[in-house]
């Protein structure tokens, strides 16, 4: 229905139509993906290749543009810029624009069961006997006012809707409403003020994740051992270390965003590293697309 509407739309330009059609296709793909989720794995290698060819490739391209020396020179240049040539960026600029979404392997044996132990920096706590704050600020008041804010926001919406229903000067009201919406959209954050420094995700400090250990249970081996012996299952069932973040191809000395971006770049350009990464992504189950 939406697709037909878009195709028949008189006001929308081509770009809008394309965006809308993409959105509908996205919904359809998502529904299909959700249906497949958790069932027998299918097309997961293809999915991982998409991850590499989109997300990791983009990072790799940007890493190639990191050129601390020429950033300043480039800014000073007054001559007409070559549009095809991407301008150099600093490593800080590159790192700061990214966040990392970590997606965990599951216990359900879609592949092998797995989970992860994260390690993080607590050195400053261990070294500081006065670390604990003496006064603890409770949260009751904050959550009470937050509840009120959420309640009011829904009431405001109801009032906006009823005003529109009354239909007084709809056009004018619509204009006003749009302006108000843009101004008051509290779900749009303001830019991080300069006075704040980069946090533990970016610069090694207290609470920065330093390392992880990935555990998995090799079900084929465990089931086989169980089959060949008469011992209790608890003596046979075990998790073992599959890999850690400080071994190849991860080779990360800390888990900052910068280290993840370097890893993404390596995984994009280094085939053996990529293959090992994918093998571990599928919890060493040996999964391949049909």
């Amino acid at each position: 229905e939406q697709s037909t509407r878009v195709q028949q739309g008189e006001d929308s330009n081509e770009e809008d139509e394309e965006t809308e059609l993409n959105r509908i296709l996205d919904h359809a793909m998502a529904a299909k993906e959700v249906f497949l989720m958790g069932a027998k794995p299918s097309n997961k290698e293809a999915y991982m290749n998409t991850v590499r060819d989109t997300y990791y490739r983009k990072v790799w391209n940007k890493l190639e543009r990191v050129d601390e020396k020429n950033v300043e020179n480039e800014k000073k240049k007054k001559e007409k810029k070559d549009k095809k040539k991407k301008k150099p960026i600093t490593r800080k600029e590159l790192i700061e624009r990214y966040s990392i979404v970590n997606i965990g392997g599951s216990v359900i044996p879609t592949f092998n069961p797995s989970f992860r132990i994260w390690e993080y920096n607590i050195t400053d706590i261990v070294n500081d006997s006065n670390f604990a704050v003496s006064e603890y600020k409770p949260w009751d008041e904050f959550f009470e006012s937050l509840n009120k804010i959420m309640e009011d926001s829904l009431l405001e919406d109801e009032m906006d809707s009823s005003n529109i229903e009354v239909g007084i000067n709809r056009e004018k009201m619509g204009e006003k409403k749009n302006k108000k919406k843009k101004k008051n959209d509290k779900t749009m954050p303001i830019e991080m003020p300069d006075k704040y420094e980069l946090g533990p995700a970016y610069v090694p400090q207290l609470f920065t994740p330093t390392r992880f250990v990935q555990f998995y249970a090799d079900l084929e081996k465990i089931n086989q051992e169980l089959h060949n012996s008469f011992v209790e299952s608890k003596d046979i069932f075990r998790y073992e270390i599959e890999y850690t973040s400080d071994e190849k191809p991860y080779s990360m000395d800390s888990l900052t965003v910068g280290s993840y971006l370097d890893l993404a770049g390596r995984l994009y350009e280094n085939k053996p590293a990529w293959e090992k990464y994918v093998e571990w992504s599928f919890a060493s189950s040996g999964y391949k697309d049909d």
Partner: protein, 301 residues
Amino acid sequence: DVKTGKERKLHGRFLHITDIHPDPYYVEGSSIDAVCHTGKPSKKKDVAPKFGKAMSGCDSPVILMEETLRWIKENLRDKIDFVIWTGDNIRHDNDRKHPRTEAQIFDMNNIVADKMTELFSAGNEEDPRDFDVSVIPSLGNNDVFPHNMFALGPTLQTREYYRIWKNFVPQQQQRTFDRSASFLTEVIPGKLAVLSINTLYLFKANPLVDNCNSKKEPGYQLLLWFGYVLEELRSRGMKVWLSGHVPPIAKNFDQSCYDKFTLWTHEYRDIIIGGLYGHMNIDHFIPTDGKKARKSLLKAM
């Protein structure tokens, strides 16, 4: 622990566990073709093994969950500070002979929550919220009925989850939890927090999610909660881990929800340590671009 006055040893380690999917209908020796529920296997390859079989399409036998938790108890429990547990605690709805019911979903979630409590609690009978290791659960798309569909609270389902997670969700957050099914836990009081984010409100496969721009949209309300909580954490000088079931990547979220969520994580890069999610069963990471998200939002406006 300035909140309780109890002395705690920090280990600098935590556990992330996700998508357990225990299936009480799993029968060892049944047919994999019949999702390991019934049937006589035609060949050796089709036999459902005791602990489950990788890539078979069957869910987890209950013993796999139990042995996993036992192994964690014996090998990790006393070496970690907190547990991030990102949902889907029920079998898939993949057997027509046994369609999944709402009661089954709640019952199994109750069972798994009890097991987590038993494993990590301090055993203080007077205070069931007293944990040696804090546990932060979040809601999976299979933990709701119907599958994927979850309305803005308060609803019977948000109330039921508050009941099931009563030991995990701080009491003063009951009302905001009722609205958003999301909450905050201070894993190191005054210093480090974990947010349990109900990402189903941003999930494009949730039929009740259209966008994150209208105030009545569940995603808008969730982002409102998210923004205020982040700002409060910043004002307290705290750092935070984000957690949830469906990962905040473009293929999973409605576009406006994805852009806004990504932008929040970008603009609070002074306090957010990272995000841990489940749902996809594949162990990997995805970098998300905050600058691009802002551009996309401005263009849409």
